[in-house]
């Protein structure tokens, strides 16, 4: 059994789990105008931005020149998660700790600078750090080195679904006999080239009003807002947590991943199947689920497809559904991990955070979307869903501790 015993959150609407959760319940948004360069020539200008985090305050100076902003955020998130779990890495055997991160865009801003140096000034100007600040395994490697973690480690790429895959693989690693794994995802790519690359995907909202730009499941949904940040979790075997005398927030009770049929086939997507497989993996029925944290694409046809999957699995308005990511934007590999954090906090505090911004859910969606105000209700089991561009589906069941015999 894999227990989550520590959370390190770097979200556009809050640093640390406490601030993030307060913002999630009160509706404080992290979506604002991207002001890191002149965006006037771009059709979309809003992003979920992590502000007021000075990495230099948390990281040794030598790490700053060799890391992209995304890696600094990942390192701080991992440090906070370890502190939250009261882990002292020096007290565990080094092979007993692994690192599994999801990554989607690598050290993109860093590498943009190096491309610029190469082509504007010549090869001899390229940084000695470029070869490892850019690639997708960088966060796993840097976290492993910083905390002396020598156990099985990996990095996974699956766009927005990657965060759940990383936690699922962390749980797999725990099953394989490793007591503790740092698992999660963090991304950031808001330099001019990164921003253009987000826009190239074609689904970014061009609405310039932060209150309405990303309204998943709304009748007027018109795209999503990209965000940065994410979260790291300490995933631990029940035995390890018990031996350290920590309680933990909840359990990763089930996980599954599927892939959609080729778009040309017209066959139904695989999200419902991923959800059903995750429930089966947890050994529970749809009726046991108290809340669904939706993928919430914010694109009408994708919202429609997710609503259909939920109706098929749970019945019409069969389960409360929510999307707190309306306040952060979609964070690539970090988004689904933030949803897992929110699910754990829902379990802790018996309240479902609402989907702020969404006002009118089309009736034919047939989903009970929690909107407006937090809904106080006991939560013992949450289902978290995520979809990655081109067909990745992942589903994770998070349960209260002590729920299973």
């Amino acid at each position: 059994m894999s227990v989550i015993t520590g959370l390190g959150v770097i979200a556009p609407n809050g640093l640390g789990v406490k601030e993030f959760w307060e913002a999630t319940l009160s509706g404080r948004s992290g979506i604002a105008e991207l002001d890191r360069f002149d965006t006037s020539g771009y059709p979309a200008r809003l992003a979920g931005l992590v502000r007021e985090l000075d990495s230099a305050e948390y990281l040794p100076g030598r790490l700053l020149p060799q890391t992209d902003v995304s890696t600094r955020l990942a390192l701080v998130a991992a440090q906070w998660a370890l502190e939250d779990a009261e882990v002292d890495p020096a007290e565990l055997a080094d092979y007993d700790m692994g690192v599994v991160t999801a990554n989607a865009s690598g050290g993109f801003e860093f590498t943009h600078r190096e491309f610029n140096k190469l082509w504007a000034h010549g090869p001899e100007h390229v940084s000695v750090y470029e070869s490892f600040a850019w690639f997708y395994a960088v966060n796993t490697g840097q976290i492993s080195i910083r905390h002396g973690m020598r156990g099985p480690s990996s990095a996974l790429v699956a766009e927005q679904a990657g965060g759940l895959d990383a936690l699922g693989h962390a749980a797999r690693t725990i099953r394989g006999g490793v007591p503790l794994v740092v698992g999660g995802g963090v991304d950031s790519a808001f330099d001019p080239w990164g921003w253009l690359s987000h826009l190239a995907g074609g689904r970014v909202s061009v609405d310039l009003d932060p209150a309405t730009a990303y309204r998943p499941f709304d009748a007027n949904a018109a795209g999503y807002i990209p965000g940065e940040g994410g979260a790291m979790c300490i995933v631990e075997s029940a035995e390890s947590a018990r031996a350290r005398g920590v309680q933990g927030y909840g359990e990763i009770a089930g996980y599954a991943a599927t892939f959609d049929p080729h778009p040309d086939t017209g066959a139904p997507p695989g999200l419902r199947r991923a959800a059903a497989l995750a429930l089966a993996d947890a050994g529970i029925e749809p009726g046991d689920v108290d809340v669904v944290f939706a993928d919430a694409a914010g694109v009408p046809e994708l919202d429609d497809a997710e609503a259909l999957a939920l109706r098929e699995l749970f019945g019409i308005r069969g389960v409360p559904v929510t999307a707190p990511k309306a306040l952060t934007g979609r964070l690539l590999s970090g988004g689904a991990v933030l949803d897992v954090v929110a699910a754990l906090m829902s379990i802790q505090e018996s309240v479902i955070p609402p989907t702020f911004g969404t006002a009118t859910v089309p009736g034919d969606y047939g989903i009970d979307l929690v909107t407006g105000e937090p809904r106080p209700v006991p939560v013992r089991t949450a289902l978290v869903l995520a979809r990655g561009r081109w067909g990745f589906n992942a589903a994770t069941v998070i349960q209260a501790l002590g729920d299973r015999s």
Binding site: A137, L196, F259
Partner: protein
């Protein structure tokens, strides 16, 4: 999570695109002849760069059967992966797959690097602009930044609708992706997984980034002899491109259908050195631990290893590090076991090479011979194992240990065994 299975995993198909060879027969022919495929870079003018040598693949997408639409849409590394996946499926003889029970595990270290650089030059007006205009933006730019589309393309090529993963562990991606695929079958999440890796990093930014840390060779005058793993005169690795994909199946199902089984994935393990993003300690401790665990999983005694397919990148620190790791894990048996590095012939294709080396290992088992370490004339005195210099050798090969080591501190080991009838 409740009951998980512990099933055995067979490799029943392979497709490989390596420098100097297209397909497994040509690949083995190159390896067993000890021929090198390293040459002066032809993809761009390498003269401004410190290292001007690479192992390129003469890959023609059209004659590889890709449609014009696929060629337009896919990055070069994705093209390699898709071609190899199709070939592996055909080689496996699988008559049809069950989509829901079929998964993908694709490895790549730098993924769409080639396309990123091409688009960068367009969008920045050859580096003149920091802030870019959306005018010349291609829709694929998102997928070059977020390259999980590579795994998606392989899934479409295979018709897979089970778990699809892109494993990006730097230079161990090629071993780790196959290890990950095997884990999916072992635990019961899939019955068939198309697994392997592709990387096409021969592009100026990658060349410059390795120049900056002097990791690549400067034998620019003798490109065909530039990759010299374990030799006292080696001075860095030779950058390469390539791909290899495999069909992994649950062992009893593979036997039931009478499939040709190249090998069983007996064991796989990965560890991190938690030391340095690019540096290695000389003791080989973490790689030795990965080897020990992989052997243990395979229920193979170290003495049973017939051949070690080394990482053998041709950097001084690597060659000494892994020599120490072999001694530490296998003891005296390390001295009795042939060890070779095919990077001497096909270079170091970053995330792909681990899979290319699995292909070489399977072919060594098929042919009962071990490929040589080309260009090995006079070994570094601190590298005192049997590195099979220059000439391939007939050898009884039932059990292969293949290892990888990469930036970020990743150390991986896989044990391939002959699946007894």
């Amino acid at each position: 999570m409740h009951g998980r299975l512990n099933r055995r995993v067979a490799i029943t198909g392979m497709g490989v695109r390596a420098p100097g060879s297209l397909g497994k027969d040509a690949f083995w022919e190159l390896l067993s002849a000890g021929r090198t495929a390293t040459r002066r870079i032809t993809f761009f003018d390498p003269s401004p760069y410190r290292s001007q040598v690479a192992a390129e693949v003469d890959f023609d997408a059209t004659s590889e059967g890709l449609s014009p639409r696929e060629i337009r849409r896919m990055d070069r590394a994705t093209q390699f992966a898709v071609v190899c996946a199709r070939e592996a499926l055909s080689d496996s003889g699988l008559a049809g797959i069950s989509p829901h029970r079929t998964g993908i595990s694709l490895g790549s270290a730098v993924a769409a690097a080639t396309s990123l650089e091409r688009e960068y030059l367009v969008l920045s007006d050859s580096g003149k602009r920091w802030t870019m205009s959306p005018d010349q933006l291609t829709p694929q730019m998102f997928d070059y930044m977020v390259p999980s589309v590579m795994a998606a393309e392989v899934a479409w090529a295979a018709g897979a609708e089970g778990p699809v993963a892109m494993v990006s562990d730097g230079c161990t991606s090629g071993l780790d992706s196959v290890g990950h695929g095997a884990a999916l079958i072992r635990e019961g999440s899939a019955d068939v997984v198309v697994a392997g890796a592709a990387d096409t990093p021969i592009t100026p930014i990658v060349v410059a980034s390795f120049d900056a840390i002097r990791a690549t060779t400067t034998y620019n005058d003798v490109p065909d002899q530039a990759s010299r793993p374990f030799d006292g005169t080696r001075n860095g690795f030779v950058l390469a491109e390539g791909a290899a994909m495999f069909v992994l199946e649950e062992l009893t199902a593979a036997r039931r259908r009478g499939a040709h089984i190249y090998a069983e994935v007996g064991g796989f393990a990965t560890r991190c050195n938690a030391y340095h993003m690019t540096g290695l300690k000389t003791d080989g401790r973490e790689m030795a631990e990965a080897i020990r665990v992989a052997l243990d999983q395979a229920r193979v005694n170290g003495d049973a290893v017939d051949y070690i397919n080394a990482h053998g990148s041709g950097t001084k620190q690597n060659d000494r590090h892994e020599t120490a790791a072999f001694k530490r894990s296998l003891g005296e048996h390390a001295y009795r076991t042939p060890v070779s590095s095919i990077k001497s012939m096909v270079g170091h294709s970053l995330g792909a090479i681990g899979s290319v080396e699995i292909a070489a290992s399977l072919l060594a088992m098929e042919n009962q011979a071990v490929p040589p370490t080309a260009n090995l004339r006079s070994a570094d005195p601190e590298c005192d194992l049997d590195y099979v210099p220059v000439q391939a050798r007939e050898h009884h090969v039932d059990t292969v240990l293949t290892v990888g080591s990469g930036f970020g501190g990743f150390q991986s080991a896989m044990v391939l065994t002959r699946a007894a009838a």
